[in-house]
Symmetry: none
């Protein structure tokens, strides 16, 4: 359960990425109230200021917004969430294709392998 951070990159950036994923994955739903800054900081075992900085960044991206004295909420803008989700997906697709290319596998074959091999090793096809 211990969240572990990559020492190479700022913690607040990694927090941004983690929470961003929680939002696009639906773990934090559209319009949902987030746990308080202090609570999130406690959960992630970081300083509240660090968490604050991460949340400020997400607010910059409009993925969350603040209700004064009330808490922070996930955006209601479903289209935005979808857009960010696509961006993340694009990244993963690129990573996949790059890694396949590095072992000499073309785009066509990468697609074929995904269809052939997908779902093995406990990764559900559904």
């Amino acid at each position: 359960m211990e969240p572990i951070f990559d020492n190479e990159r700022p913690i607040y950036i990694q927090l941004v990425e983690m929470i961003r994923i929680d939002i696009v994955s639906g773990k934090f739903e559209k319009g949902q109230r987030l746990p308080s800054v202090r609570e999130l900081a406690l959960t992630m075992k970081v300083n509240p200021n660090t968490m604050q900085k991460a949340l400020a960044e997400l607010e910059n991206e409009k993925l969350i917004y603040t209700e004064r004295t009330n808490g922070k909420y996930v955006t209601e803008d479903e289209a935005l969430i979808e857009k960010v989700k696509k961006e993340l997906a694009q990244e993963k697709v690129n990573q996949y294709l790059r890694s396949m290319k590095s072992i000499g596998i073309s785009y066509q074959t990468a697609v074929k392998y995904l269809q052939e091999l997908g779902g093995e090793d406990g990764i559900s096809k559904v």
Copy 2:
């Protein structure tokens, strides 16, 4: 040009992985004579003993073999290379699916996205 190693895992393991990729990708071709251990060690900026250990591991996997006084060669066994290649590909497929799942994207959608988004950002579709 500087190969960079992950500090978390033994270097020789990482060498194994790199050379394995060079073989399945065809950079080192079937039956080809490899550069000498010392040469490879120099290129990768590692100790020759470390490189030796890596090559021993690959020989164990039968991906390379030694001709007593003559050097080391990539296996002639095309089927084996193909098998390893598939194993690596399987790994990549799993990584891809796992990462997509983490952002809330199902197998079906992961396939669709690969077809839709593949090739953007300078990653050739060919």
Copy 3:
């Protein structure tokens, strides 16, 4: 010389405004290297972190940029500076018109007064 801050608004915002003005007014010229964060903080008698936050905000606006380990510089984008300058000017114009309106003076008269009264009380007409 003591910079005084309005207690009602965050200091870092006021720093942003002050430095923004220094840039559009040409006190900090296009492309010029800014004093170091620590130096600016000292001059303004604020904590370096507060100054850092202000500068980060200006970097967000692209009015300044950072050269790693070298310092921060005013943008080279003259058009951007001009745009910001116009925005600030628009604000002043609005303030002027609003204040004139509050004492019952129309836009037409506000313009006329500016031409008639401008330059008195030591405010140069040039």
Copy 4:
């Protein structure tokens, strides 16, 4: 509706300024009978004594006068009102020019901007 006062300056001075504006703007017309001190004090949420002090100041300026048992009236002296109005206008003009100068904009440009930008952002040009 809540009048808000600047904590830095005496409230009675701020009342003087507000009522003075009401007079020159025509909200309180030439020769008009003012609401009673108590009424004004209630409206502005200040102590009647404070309001009394403000009105005394305005009487000093001759902007209002008292009819012994009858109440207070706005002056009939249109020229005086006009003069005060010009003084206030002069102040606004100076403020405008000073603020423009602070962002590096000359008198000539300040006039041009007023003509170009005036009326935007919901501030009527009429």
